[in-house]
Amino acid sequence: MADLTYSSVNRDVIKPLFNPGLAYVATIVVTLAVMGWGGYCWYYQLIWGLGTAGYHPPVFWGVYITTFVFWIGIGHAGTLISAVLFLMRSRWRTGIYRAAEAMTIFAVMTAALFPAIHVGRAWQAYWLFPYPNQRQLWQNFKSPLMWDVFAVSTYFTVSTVFFFIGLVPDMAAVRDSTRGLTQKIYTIMSLGWRGTDQQWRHYMAAYGFFAALATPLVLSVHSVVSWDFAMAHTPGWHSTLFPPYFVAGAIFSGCAMVITLMLPLSKLFSLEAYIHTWHFEHLAKLCIFTGGILTLAYGTEYYIAWYSDNIYEWGTFTDRVVGKYWWVFAIMVLCNCISPLFWYFKALRTNMVGLMVISILINIGMWFERYNIIASALAHNFDPGSWVYYTPTWVEMGIMAGSFAWFFLWFLLFVKIMPSVAIAEIKESIRPPLKSEEAAAK
């Protein structure tokens, strides 16, 4: 931060906005094409029914729920970085928290598609929410699925408001650097912010409360998601270990996704002065730590299954290793337990290729972890007569690919419309100019 000045922060962060280059437009076109394919797959499923999704008794949760949990997990790092690290006064959050928060919101928006896709009749998804109705149909608040609706919608609302509040002063900075219609749009988006003492006073108080309120959400959302599984007595799911195991996994995958997104962002938009190796190294260390918790959880699951002497439990767990899903288990272990260990080497966690490759491996591994939990447990249930081998169909894979395109499209739009780095907070970390020091230097 030594060479940065207040005006250079404005200039550097606002510069990448607005003027999309050819590569940017081409990327948008590709994401739209993949999204279109995903949209077609969903249309096909709506016309022909959920049979096109590869569901077969007793497996009625597959790729859609796997991908839902995956995206909710990705959405954890943003609030962890913006809220938890804010309360801890971690200086390394400053450069990356804005884009991580945006990633959180887009990830939850992506995740929210899947319950609607999964239930088939997406137009009736509003039944999930409590509303007065003539049929006297009310939600079952004792169901973990209902808890999940509340947890995810609260998480989305709070994260969005937190993100929006953080943006307001920076939108004012963009407004003051633009002219014409663009300036008018940013005037509305900045809510007329001028940085008065009264505005900063209440803003900072509210920001602190938001961080304090969002912090327990980081821990609670994936705990609640884990209860979707743990509250059922399906072998392989019914475990009190699930909440901490899921939360650690969510932070692990979220931080890996932040690395995957921020590395190209910092290079392409010349933001290396704000997002640099120091940040990525901290994220890599966080991944090593949470990956360690995850590895311990995997081992503990097996120990509990063996020690419980429950044949159904142990049967499911052994089937995951030596049964038809062995390859899913192998990918999970290699990507989540082994690959982060390479970041113990400083050369790999400070190197762009090392960071990118391992972060992508972690993302792949975390998707397969959820697939391993969901598909293998349902396919190898209590009754051997019902055992099946579930494989995703082209419709499911198309919708999943479309969800990635949907996520990346939002992120691409974000980096061109909103400042990817928090201008006001970066300025806070710069030593302020003091006349007394300048006079002493003369």
Binding site: T5, Y6, S7, N10, P130, W138, Q139, N140, F141, K142, M146, W147, F150, A151, T154, T157, V158, V161, F162, I165, V168, P169, A172, A173, R175, D176, S177, L191, G192, W193, R194, G195, T196, D197, Q198, Q199, W200, R201, H202, Y203, M204, A205, A206, F209, F210, L213, A214, P216, L217, S220, V224, A424, E425, K427, E428, P432, P433, L434, K435, E438
Partner: protein
């Protein structure tokens, strides 16, 4: 010793622009000492505790009460929603489990607490910060205050007080002092 500030026949708002943090701190302290605190608005591109401490002397923002009330309201509302729903529509009770179950409704109650606590915090921030801001004086609309400068704007001063305030701004190290012409009006 502070002096009473006359607002009779107010001149146009005065704006002092600063580049150095220590200068604006000195300026605020001097203006407060001269009795201009009710007429002052301090502007900065980012929050600084020195400025807030000088202006508000540790008095906490009332936003916190809204957070508390929002949280309590959310908890009560969420628990009531779940309880009344189940009381009105009792389901089969396997094993004699209670209709209103505290452990089962804890998650909903927790989510209601966080949701309403956050929403009321947001509403309070908007109200107390005066957002969306529409009636601020033109003098605060300076792009330098979102870039690399700090500022002090004084409103509602008489010609005599305006001269005193301008002098204080100059002496504290403002790089530019403007406004204060006679014939100005509030909110100009």
């Amino acid at each position: 010793m502070s002096h009473a500030v006359s607002t009779h026949n107010a001149v146009a708002p005065i704006k002092g622009v600063y580049r150095h943090l220590d200068c604006i701190v000195e300026g605020i302290a001097a203006l407060k000492k001269a009795g201009f605190r009710p007429n002052m608005t301090v502007l900065s591109p980012f929050p600084r505790h020195e400025l807030e401490d000088l202006m508000y002397e540790g008095e906490p923002s009332p936003v916190r009460w809204f957070t508390l009330v929002g949280g309590l309201f959310g908890a009560t509302m969420a628990f009531s929603l779940a309880s009344i729903t189940h009381a009105n529509w009792p389901m089969i009770l396997p094993g004699g489990k209670p209709v209103v179950s505290i452990p089962a409704f804890t998650v909903i109650t927790f989510e209601g607490t966080i949701l309403w606590g956050s929403l009321l915090t947001f509403v309070a921030m908007m109200i107390f910060s005066g957002l969306p801001a529409r009636n601020l004086p033109k003098a605060v609309e300076d792009p330098r205050f979102s870039n690399d400068c700090f500022g002090i704007v004084l409103q509602g001063l008489s010609a005599a007080d305006a001269a005193r305030a301008r002098s204080i701004l100059h002496h504290s190290g403002a790089i530019e002092v403007s406004g204060g012409e006679e014939g100005g009006h509030h909110g100009a």
